[in-house]
């Protein structure tokens, strides 16, 4: 059971990469998860689906540049140290 912090970091990086790769027009709109389809008025309960769509959109916006940096560092380190 070698579930270490390092593997957690790897998994987190891969998950964030996966979220960043979801294409807005080709994929998310087709399954109804586009960012312009989520406005649901000013009701009290945003609902799980709109929360999830908000989360995906914010992760993609915020993590775009840091992901480039972190991915480059990880690629270089993995090439050097295997």
């Amino acid at each position: 059971m070698a579930f270490t912090l390092y593997s957690l970091l790897q998994a987190a990086l891969l998950c964030v990469n996966a979220i960043a790769v979801l294409h807005e027009e080709r994929f998310l709109k087709n399954i109804g998860w586009g960012t312009d389809q989520g406005i649901g008025g000013f009701g009290e309960e945003p609902g799980i689906k709109s929360q999830l769509m908000n989360l995906i959109r914010s992760v993609r916006t915020v993590m775009r540049v840091p992901l480039i940096i972190v991915n480059s560092i990880v690629i270089v380190l993995l090439l050097l140290f295997g």
Partner: protein, 313 residues
């Protein structure tokens, strides 16, 4: 290759000679050495007083009878010490200033404001929460009361100590089975920390998705999730003493206690309005919250078993 290698070694050896040759420099006291930053005043003193003192200064190793006293007493090292201590003070200021930007140390201090009675009663509550009636945290002008004064307040002392004790007990258990090696300790600690981090992230994500407005901060959550280490330690120790039967008995008891403890504590934080009335509510929103509380509480015994079963054979 070899002759050139030897020649290189020889030449580097000769270039190192001048540095070594600076030791018996008492023959030239007071002369300005280009590598010296300050004037060599002690040799003038020694010449005046005739005491055999090693000439001090940068680059000269002290070789007198009391090297430490001579080293500490001369002005150069005084200045070096003053410079070093001012550097250390500046570094400490820098670290403090930047630490405040990431997480406030004063908030963290609240979680360590415990005393022995609190720790004792809290440990008792963790193992036997069935008779405790009032689970509300008392407030004092909008801020929760320190753990010292209220047994229901979460603290970080018990989880931190329990975590470290768990790693040590895991090492002990592995040692009694001849499976111990020092890097396994680090692996156990890292694994437990990784599970804790994963739990915190999953719970925060689900709290965000279900849009629950609680005053449950991240550190509170870490504190509540860290309480299960107490049961784990008890189980492993009993397993060491009494074998598998003892392990299963104590672990089962502690699992049940942690389950009840988590439900009663989280009910107040997550299901705030429903808990205030004291009746289980049937609305869809509250049902979702109840499911979340049950899921968090049910994950505790599972993790307690998962993190300890390989330690008891």
């Amino acid at each position: 290759m070899h002759p050139t290698g030897l020649a290189a070694a020889g030449s580097s050896g000769t270039t190192r000679q001048p540095a070594k040759r600076r030791i018996p420099v008492g023959s030239q006291p007071g002369m300005a050495d280009p590598h010296q930053l300050f004037d060599d005043t002690s040799s003038a003193q020694s010449r005046a007083y005739g005491t055999p003192r090693a000439p001090s200064g940068l680059g000269y190793p002290a070789a007198s009878a009391s090297p430490q006293a001579a080293f500490l007493a001369d002005p150069v090292s005084n200045m070096a010490m003053a410079y070093g201590s001012s550097l250390a003070a500046q570094g400490k200021e820098l670290v403090d200033k930047n630490m405040d930007r990431f997480f406030s140390v004063s908030k963290l201090k609240y979680y360590f404001a415990v005393d022995t009675m609190y720790v004792g009663r809290k440990l008792g509550l963790l193992v036997f929460p069935y008779l405790h009636q009032d689970w509300e945290v008392q407030y004092q002008q909008d801020t929760p009361v320190a753990p010292r004064f209220d047994i229901n307040a979460p603290d970080l002392y018990i989880p931190a100590m329990a975590f470290i004790t768990y790693v040590l007990v895991a090492g002990l258990a592995l040692g009694t089975q001849d499976r111990f090696s020092p890097d396994l300790l680090g692996l156990q600690a890292s694994s437990a920390l990784a599970w804790l981090t994963l739990e915190v992230l999953v719970i925060l994500l689900s709290l965000y998705l279900v849009t629950i407005n609680t005053d449950l901060t991240t550190i509170d959550l870490v504190a509540f999730l860290g309480y299960k280490y107490v049961g784990m330690i008890g189980g492993v120790l009993m397993g060491l003493l009494f074998g598998k039967i003892g392990y299963y008995l104590v672990l089962g008891w502690c699992c049940l206690s942690i389950f009840v403890f988590m439900i009663r504590t989280l009910r107040l934080k997550i299901l705030a309005e429903a808990a205030a009335e004291g009746v289980p509510v049937r609305g869809a929103r509250n049902q979702l919250r109840m499911y979340l509380t049950m899921a968090v509480a049910a994950a505790q015994p599972l993790l307690m078993y998962w993190l300890t079963f390989h330690l008891v054979r």
